[in-house]
Amino acid sequence: MASLSHELNNVFAIINEHNGLLEDMLAGLKQGMPLDEKKIQRSSQKIGYQVERGKELIKRLNQFAHSTDHAVMETEITQWLQAIVALSQRLAGMKEMIIEFKASPGETIFLNTNPYYLQQAVFICFQVFMANCEANRLITVAAEKAEGMLSLTVAGSAINDDEFTRDKLGLLKILLEQLNGNLEIKSRNGQNYSIILKLRELKIEV
């Protein structure tokens, strides 16, 4: 959330500076300096771009804010995962990491679940991999649903064996209990780890 608000702050700051530049050029015009049409066009385009960027950020913030409105709801998993990845991307970028969502083309996955807990669970997986940013330059997220069970796989190169990681995985297990799910961790020869969250449908209470 702090990362998103920093980004939103930057949007306002950029609009502020381009607005200031336009004011500077107008002030120059009054003093007889010619108007630079290209610069005006550039500032206008940049302001427009930042407004769209700001709208997108607010949309994601709202999505996160409203995720606690309903305990259990029919959740479009692809959309939620894309939002979580977008929310986490700047934080990952600060550690020189990238999070990539591997969507199955044309597939829309729905699950009756608690989207707030789901976000928290996926974010904990990111935190586990981000704790070792030297090894984990790329984190991938993929989802598939089969026979009523959703499998969410968050993969990276390495997981630390320390108290922080154990605490996070402990918390993840508790969250998964609330999500009617379980946790699997797989690796190949102590490398290339996958944290697999297996979730079943939850009952929507009327």
Partner: protein, 121 residues
Amino acid sequence: MNPIKVLLVDDEEDLSLVLAERLEMRGFDAKGVISSEEALSLIKEYEFDVMVIDVKMPGIGGVDLMRRVKHQNPKTQVILFTGHGSSKEGELGISEGAFDYLIKPIKIEDLIEKIEKAVGR
């Protein structure tokens, strides 16, 4: 009097370059870069009177950059940019050697006032 040399460091290209442009219009010798790495490379060739550094940047963060700049060019003053709700970061930066800090979005007049104070004008 020689123009004050200012380097702006912010990973948002639109911020560092436009601010540099606006400072240039006001008589400063200003440059803008978009990473700490670029800044560290530039300060090997040029000595700046003031560097304006965003606290939150990917890779080498703003406060870390400041420490390295101070080590290499102790005379260079540093002003930090922070976001709303981040005044603690600014205060931490001052305790680590920054001249001052500003919370984005800024007023250019405020930035100029701090730059001029930083160089004792």
